[in-house]
Each structure stands twice: as structure tokens, then as C-alpha cells.
Subunit: 199 residues, 2 copies
Amino acid sequence: MIKLPQSIADAVENFSKLPGVGEKTAFRQIMGLVNWDPENLETLAFSIQKLSQIKKCVECGLYTETDRCAVCTSDERQDAKILCVVESISDLMAIEKSQNFNGIYHVLGGVLNPLMGIGPHDLKIDRLVDRVKKYNIETVILAVNPSVEGDATCSYIGQQLVGVQVERIGFGIPMGGSLEYLDPLTITKALENRKSINS
Amino acid sequence: MIKLPQSIADAVENFSKLPGVGEKTAFRQIMGLVNWDPENLETLAFSIQKLSQIKKCVECGLYTETDRCAVCTSDERQDAKILCVVESISDLMAIEKSQNFNGIYHVLGGVLNPLMGIGPHDLKIDRLVDRVKKYNIETVILAVNPSVEGDATCSYIGQQLVGVQVERIGFGIPMGGSLEYLDPLTITKALENRKSINS
């Protein structure tokens, strides 16, 4: 079997390390890249190098190029006195996309999982408690995904935050969902969380 | 909606240009890359920059870092006097992986398609005819995928190569395939291409 040029083999190997990319996908992507202009390759390479400058916000954990992120430095966001706890930055971005939350965030970076050795300190829950006091937060929304560990994390956080309103996001049928295809647990939750539509 | 750091947005934009990568996949990949060590980011970026050195072999069209590729510079391959015509470099690599072909190649880069304006010159069929003469090729295998355009390309190449044995790869049931799930055309081809198993 012939060998492709070393530079292609190297690029395929490096691309296979990306999340969700196997050797076949990497090969297909490199086959595409080989036809790019040198300038575009340069731009792509440069944008990857620049990622090393990304840090995590010392306050909430969101990605930033400075010490504190765009949310934590916004006066309007601070003044809302509402804080949303999320598991990951991807979850945070999903909430931002809904354009229905205008407070500050706290990124846990995971959920409590004693079997995996993830305790309250790993999730910076002490820092969350400090921030809630420091910024006089009135309401904490727990936007943690439903799972055994997520539920445990929520009740732990609830115990730590005394004198603050702690709420968990609602569970039920997703928009566009069909009862026919939903699991019994979701339907149970939806029945529990029913809402009156006449006053 | 808050904005992520510009370097993340730039990287996502550049990654979305990769084949088969949309904005969501690009974002997920960048979220992974952000956690990489600066050295690994540097290695990835460098391997992308180096792709600009890749050229196409002046003989067959395979990727190479020099003028002529690893196949065309192999005496053993030249001496086999057999040439395999493929549509793309990915198809070539698939044949190499089977480790059952030891001749030289010719990459068409597509198939004849008058509606898309792809004619014999775009596929370098004149160069193929020259190479067949120059290297005294005895057998030409057409490893072109089955399609209307592929069939037309094969019969065109067959007409151009006089005095050479021109063969098309076999069609039939793929290994591990099940008659139950195969299309009628494949089964028709398989019935046509049946082979005696006793002498």
C-alpha cells in the first residue's frame, strides 16, 4: 500500500483528536483542505493558534480573553440580581440563544458524582455561594439537566443557599414534541407540571 | 445575547468551512480545542499550514509533495503494465487499502457530465491515452462507480484506448450484504455476473 505525503498523514492524525472526529472523517476533511488556497489555510491555522489565549472567567467560568467575561462585566446583567447555574458553557450558550435570560451565570463544569470523584469543591459551589452573597442575588435558577446526579447537585446547592429563592427550570413536553414518542418519565413530569389556562 | 470572545467566533467560522461541518459541529469542536494545551494547538495549526505544500502528481493526479507521486516513481508499479482509472483520490485510497492492486493509477477527478460542463479534457483523458502508450500498459481497469455518467465515461475511455485490454470492475452483492435489503439493479447485475464454482 502506498503512503500519502507525510503532511497529509500528520494533518489526519491531528484532526482525529478533535471531539467527534474519527480517522475517516479526518481524512475526508483533509482531502477538502488540500484544495484550499494557502491564505485560507493560514487563516484557519492562525485562528486555532489564537485559541490558546482563551481563559475562563474568574467569576463565572465562561470563556473570555480578559479576566472577567462579557456577562460579568455588564452592569445591566449584575443589576438584574438573578443568577443561572449551568453545567457547561454549551448549556449557557443554549440559554443565551433563547434570549430570555438577562442575569449572570455560574458554570459548574459538571455535576456532583461521588463515584467519579467529583465533589462540591470541583464544581466551585463555595464560589457560587460567595457570589450570591457578594452581588445580593435574589433568585438562583438551576438550569441543570435532569439526571440522578443533576438532581443531587440541585438539592445540594439548594441546601447551601439559605435566604435566597432557588428555582429549578421546568420539565415537560418540549415544543414540537409528540406525546406518542415521549418517554413515560417526561410525561409524568409534564402531568405534574400542568398549568391552568383559564383564570 | 452575549458574545463569546472574538477568537472563538473566528475559529468557529473557519471550521464551519470544512467539508461536512456545520456551525453546531464547529462550535462543539472549538469548545474541545479551547481546553487543549497551547503546544497541541500549535501542532494542529502547523499541520494545517503544511497542507499548502501538497501538489497533485503530474502523471496520475494523486497528492504528493514532489512532482511525481510515490506510485508513479515506483519501478515495481510501472513494470506491472497495468493501470487503474479512478474518479477520485478517495477511491484510489480505498483500492490501496484492499492491497490487491500493484499497478499505477489515473485519477479522473470526476466523470463525464455534459450538463455540468465536464468534458473529456477536464478529466485528462488525453493524458491517460498518452500514458497508456508511453508505459506500454497492457490492461486498463476502470474502477469507476456505477452511475449513468460513470457508465458513459467508461464507454468513452474504452473507445479511446485501442489495442489495450480495458476492463471494468465487477458489480454484484457486496461482502456481508443481504439479498433481502439490496436493490433490484444490484441483484440483476449479480445474476448477470454469476460465476461457475465447479470446473
